[in-house]
Symmetry: D2
Subunit: 329 residues, 4 copies
C-alpha cells in the first residue's frame, strides 16, 4: 500500500504528465491516455435574457481555485453541460473555450455522443480538432428498445475506429433509460482506442464486475457520481466524474486521496458527508440545483436553458439544507 | 349512429376539405385544424452505401396506393422517421419532399420536437415554411427527472405561442421514458394553438380521462399505435398515427370506418388480427422491422442508419410469422 | 347486434341460470361455468378495536341493494378483500359467510391463491367445500424472478387438475409485480378446468390479444377494474371485477348493458365519469379509500387491518373530489 | 486500523460472546445484540417425493464445516428459506431444528415477517420461543402502493414494541418491489428494540446514507448479498447475509476479515471473484441455483417446493461456468 506522499507524486506522474500529447490512436502511435482522477463535469454558462429560452453562451472562465486542487481535468459537454440544448457549433465552441481557460497539464474529456453513429463520429473528430484529449461517448438511447449489445458494440467500434483521440464509454441510465451491458463493455474494452468507461448507474457490483472482467485490458473505470465514489474505488475504479466537484472540488479530491492511500476510515467519514449534497445536485434537483449551489459558492452558475426551470423556493431551501446539515454551508 | 356511407362523406367533408389552409393561429385567424383520421408515420428512405452509417437520404416517393385509401394525411419525422439521426436540414428536406409527393388535400403533420425549447420553436417555424400543416412536438426527455408538469407546460406554451401552425402534443414513453402528465395536457388543451395530442403509451384509461377532462376544449386525441386503435375510438379518440398503416393502410382505415360507424363486432375481429403485426413493427422489431415488412409488401423500406441494425434471420422469421399467422402474408 | 331488451334476457339466461350448479370438472361432468358479467370484489369487514392490528372479522351483510342490480356475482378474497392479512380459517369463514348472505343464483368467485402450489391446491379445495363456484387464483409472486411461463403453467395446471371447481387465472401486476405472460395464458386456456382470466393490468391490447389467441377455446376474460371496462368489452372481454361496483354497482352494470347492447356513445359518456372515481378506490387510495367511500355511501366499510393506514384528511378530501367532480356525490 | 490477529479476537469478543443471552428488550434489560458478521441464509431441506408440490420438510443438519469458519450465525427463513411456501408451524419447526443443530455461541436470526402487523407480531413472539436470537422482519409488500413511510414505521414499531427479541429490518426489493425508505429507517433506528437492518437492494450509496444518518444510534447494517459486501463494509456496514456463504462460507468470511483489517487490495481481488458466483445463486438462478450448487459442493440442497422449478440443463451449465471461470469449481 502506498503512503499518502508517495501516492501524490505517483498520481501526478502517471496521469498529469502524460497530459495532452495523445496524438491519437489512428495515427499509429497507439498510446493510451491515463484517465485516473477526479473531473468536474463543467456546466455551460448562459447569460440571462428576458426570453429565457434564448439564453446565449456566457463568458467561460473556470474558477481560479480549480487550478489549486489536484483535479485530473475537466469533462465538458457531459450531461451536466446541457449538451442536448446546444447546437453543434456551440458544443465545439464550449470545448474550445474550456481548453483555453484550463491549465495545459490537465485532461479535457469532451462529451461527443449523438444519436446516430455518423453524427457521433463527426462530432468526435471535430472535438479532437478543438482540443479535446479524449471523447466521452454517451449511449444512443432514443431507440433503446433496439439498442442491443450488438448494436452498441457496432456503434462504439465505428466511433473508436475513426476517432483521432481515445474514447471513453459513458453509461448514464438516469438520462438514457439504458445500461450499457457488461458483455458489451467487455468486448469493447479490447478495442485499442477505447480506454475506459464512465458509469453513472451507481451499481457498484456492476462496476466491480467490469473491472474484474477487463483486468487483462488496459481499461479504466470512472464513477459517474460522488455518491458512490469511495465504493467504486474499493471495487477498482480509478477516479470519478463528479458534479459535486464543481463546488466541493477540494473535498472530492481529498476523498480520492484517502481512498488511493488506503485511509478507509477517514474516507468513509468524508464520503458519508458528501452523499446528500451530491444527491441534491444530481438526481434530486439536477442542473438547476447544481447551478444554484455554484452561485451560492461564488462561482457562476446562472440560468439554465428552457425547458429546464429554476428551483422553487421550497426546493432551494431543501438544497441548502442538504449542504448545511453536512457542514458544507 | 351514422351509417357507413354517410360517415364516409362526413369524414371527407370534415377533415379533408379543411385541408391545408390553416393560416396559423399566430396570424390572427384563430382557425383550428381537424386532425381526425388515420396517418402513417412515414419512414425515411436511405440509399444503402458500403458504409452503413453514411446512408444518404434516398428518393422519396410515397407509394401510389396511399392516395386511394382514405388516409387523413401523413406524419413526417415521427419516431418512425429516424428523426434523431437526421441533421436539421435533412429534417426540413424530408418534410419538403413529402409535401410535394403527397396529395394536396391531405394533412402533413411534422415532428418538430427538439430537446431545447428554443430549438423546438425554430424547427417548428421552419417546418411550417416548408409546408407542414401542423407540428407534432415530442416531449423533451434527456432531463426527464426535471420534466415536471410545470416545465412541460412552459415548454409547450412557448412553442405554441410562437408557432405559425397548430401544435399537436406527442407523448411516447417507450422512446422518451416520460408520460406527458394528464394535468399538463388538460392545462395545455386550453391554448388556442394546441389542437390535440398523439398518445403512444397504450393506456386507454388515460386516453379516456384526457378526452373527458378536455371535453370543453376543441381538443383531439390520436392513438399512437394500431394495437389500441379500436379501444381508443371507444374512449373518444378521433384517429391514429399507426406505423402499421405503412403496409396495411387499407386495413387500418377499414378499422377506422368500422369504429366510426358503430360496427363494433366487425371492428373487434379486424382489430384482433392487427395486434400482432402491429407489435412486430413497433415494440418488438422497431423501425428495422417496419422497413423490412415494407420491402416485403413492395414499398421501399431500405436500410436504417446506424446504430439501428438489420434484423437477424430469426427475427425476420418471427416478423413474417406475425403477419402470416394473422392472414396478411 | 342485439337490442337492449333482448340482451337483458339473454344475459340473464346465459350467465345467471347456469348459476351455481357447476358440479366440478373433476367429477367428470365437464361443464364449464359462464363467468360473464360484473362482480364487486367484496371487502372484508372488521370491527374496530383499540388495537388496530387486532381487528376482528366483523358482521358480514351484503347490502340489500346489490340484489336489485344485475350483478353476476361476487368476488371474495380478491386483492380488495385483504386476503394476505387473514388466516386460512378466516379466509374460509369469509367465503362461507358471503355464500350465505348472497342470492343463490349468483356466482361466488373465491380468491384461493397462495405462494406455494400445494397451499393453493388445498385452499382451492377448501373454498369449494364452503361454497365457492369458481376459484380465482392470483399468480405467486415472491420469487417473481423465477416465475417463468413454464413455472406458472406448471402451477396453474396442478391447481386446475386438482380443483373440484373451475379455475380463473388472475393477473394483477400492481400487487404482484408480475404479468401472467400471454403465451402462458394461451397454453392454460386449453385446460378443461380453466375457464377464464381476470386481468387487472389495464393493457387492453394485451386483453385483445388474449381473446384473439384463445378464441378457439371456451375462455372468458374479465377486466380487473372499471377504468378500462368499456375498452375491454370493445376488445372482447365479457365482464369485469370492479372495486367501484361496491359503491356504484348500478352504474357499472349500466355500463355493462350499454356495451353489450352496442350503445357505445352513451357507454363512452358513462365510462368517462367512472375513470377518476375508479382510480381513487384502486391505485390512488387503495382499500382504505374504497372502505371510506363505502362508509360515505351508507355501506359498512370500516377499518383496515394494519399495516394499511386510514386516509389522511387531505386524501379524504381528494377522494371526495374525485366523486363529486364526476357527479356521484 | 486493527491488524488481522487483533481484529480476529476483537470480533470474537464483540459479536460471539454476547451470544444468545439477549434476554429481550421487553424484559427491561435493554441490552442490544451485536449482529456484526457473516450469516448464510439457510435453505430449507425438502425430501423429494413423486408429487413435487408435496415435498416434506427434510432432515435438517447444518454441514459440519460451518462450525469451523467464523460465521456470526445463521439466518433462518430469509428469502432463501422458501418461507412463503411453509405453513406457520413449519416455519417454527425449521427455526427450532436449526437452533438445535447449530453451535450455541452463534446467533440465529429468524425471518418472521408476514403481510399483516398482527401476524408478524405473533410469528415473532413464537420464533423467540423456539430459540431465535433476533427477528428479521421483511417489509409487507402486497399493498405496496399504500406502504408509505408512515405505514411502515407504524408496522415496525408495533412489532418491535411487542417482540421479546431484537428486531432487524429487512428490505429486499427484488422480492417485494419495495425499498424501505431511508427516512423510515432513520426514524425506526431510534426504537430501543430495533438493532439494525439487512439491505438487499445493492445500492451502497443508500447504505452509506443510512449508516451516516443513524450514526448516533446503535444501529447496524448488514449487506444482503455477497456481491456488494466489500463496498458495504467500505461504507460502514458491519456484516452480510450472503446466500453464497452456504457454499463458499470460508471465502465470504475471508472477505469479511480482509475488509475489517483494512487489507483492501486483497479484499478487492477476492470480491471480484465472488460477484459472478453470487449473482448465479441470487438474481440469476435463485434458490434452485443455490440448492443445485449446494448439491455439487457436497451439502444437501435438494428440490424446491413448487412453483419453483429445477434448473434446465442450459441453466445448470451456465451456473457451473460462473463458478469454474472464477476458480471455485
Amino acid at each position: 500500500m502506498l503512503g499518502p506522499q508517495v501516492w501524490s507524486s505517483v498520481r501526478q506522474g502517471l496521469s498529469r504528465s502524460l497530459s495532452r500529447n495523445v496524438g491519437g490512436w489512428a495515427s499509429g502511435e497507439g498510446k493510451k491516455v491515463d484517465i485516473a482522477g477526479i473531473y468536474p463535469p463543467v456546466t455551460t454558462p448562459f447569460t440571462a435574457t428576458a426570453e429565457e429560452n434564448l439564453h446565449k453562451l456566457g463568458t467561460f472562465s473556470l474558477p481560479r481555485c480549480w487550478s489549486t486542487v489536484s483535479l485530473a481535468g475537466f469533462v465538458v459537454q457531459g450531461s451536466n453541460g446541457e449538451f442536448p440544448f446546444l447546437t453543434s457549433s456551440e458544443r465545439l465552441e464550449v470545448v474550445s473555450r474550456v481548453r483555453q481557460a484550463m491549465p495545459k497539464n490537465r485532461l479535457l474529456l469532451a462529451g461527443s455522443g449523438c444519436e446516430s453513429t455518423q453524427a457521433t463520429v463527426e462530432m468526435t473528430v471535430s472535438m479532437a480538432q478543438v482540443g479535446a484529449d479524449a471523447a466521452m461517448v454517451v449511449t444512443p438511447c432514443y431507440y433503446r428498445g433496439r439498442m442491443s449489445s450488438a448494436a452498441l458494440i457496432h456503434h462504439y467500434t465505428k466511433v473508436a475506429d475513426l476517432s483521432p483521440i481515445p474514447v471513453v464509454l459513458y453509461s448514464v441510465p438516469a438520462n438514457t433509460g439504458l445500461d450499457l451491458p457488461v458483455d458489451a463493455v467487455v468486448t469493447l474494452s479490447q478495442h485499442p482506442n477505447i480506454v475506459g468507461m464512465k458509469d453513472s448507474g451507481g451499481d457498484v457490483t456492476r462496476i466491480g464486475l467490469i473491472v474484474h472482467k477487463t483486468r487483462k485490458q488496459d481499461f479504466q473505470v470512472l464513477a459517474g457520481s460522488a455518491g458512490f465514489l469511495m465504493a467504486s474505488y474499493a471495487l477498482g475504479a480509478v477516479g470519478g466524474v463528479c458534479a459535486l466537484a464543481n463546488v466541493l472540488g477540494a473535498q472530492v479530491c481529498q476523498l480520492e486521496r484517502l481512498c488511493c492511500t488506503g485511509q478507509w476510515e477517514d474516507a468513509q467519514k468524508l464520503q458519508h458527508r458528501l452523499i446528500e449534497p451530491n444527491a441534491a445536485v444530481t438526481q434530486r434537483f439536477g442542473i438547476p440545483g447544481l447551478k444554484k449551489i455554484m452561485d451560492w459558492f461564488g462561482y457562476y452558475g446562472g440560468p439554465c436553458r428552457a425547458p429546464l426551470q429554476e428551483l422553487s423556493p421550497a426546493e432551494e431551501e431543501a438544497l441548502r439544507m442538504d449542504f448545511t446539515s453536512n457542514g458544507w454551508l
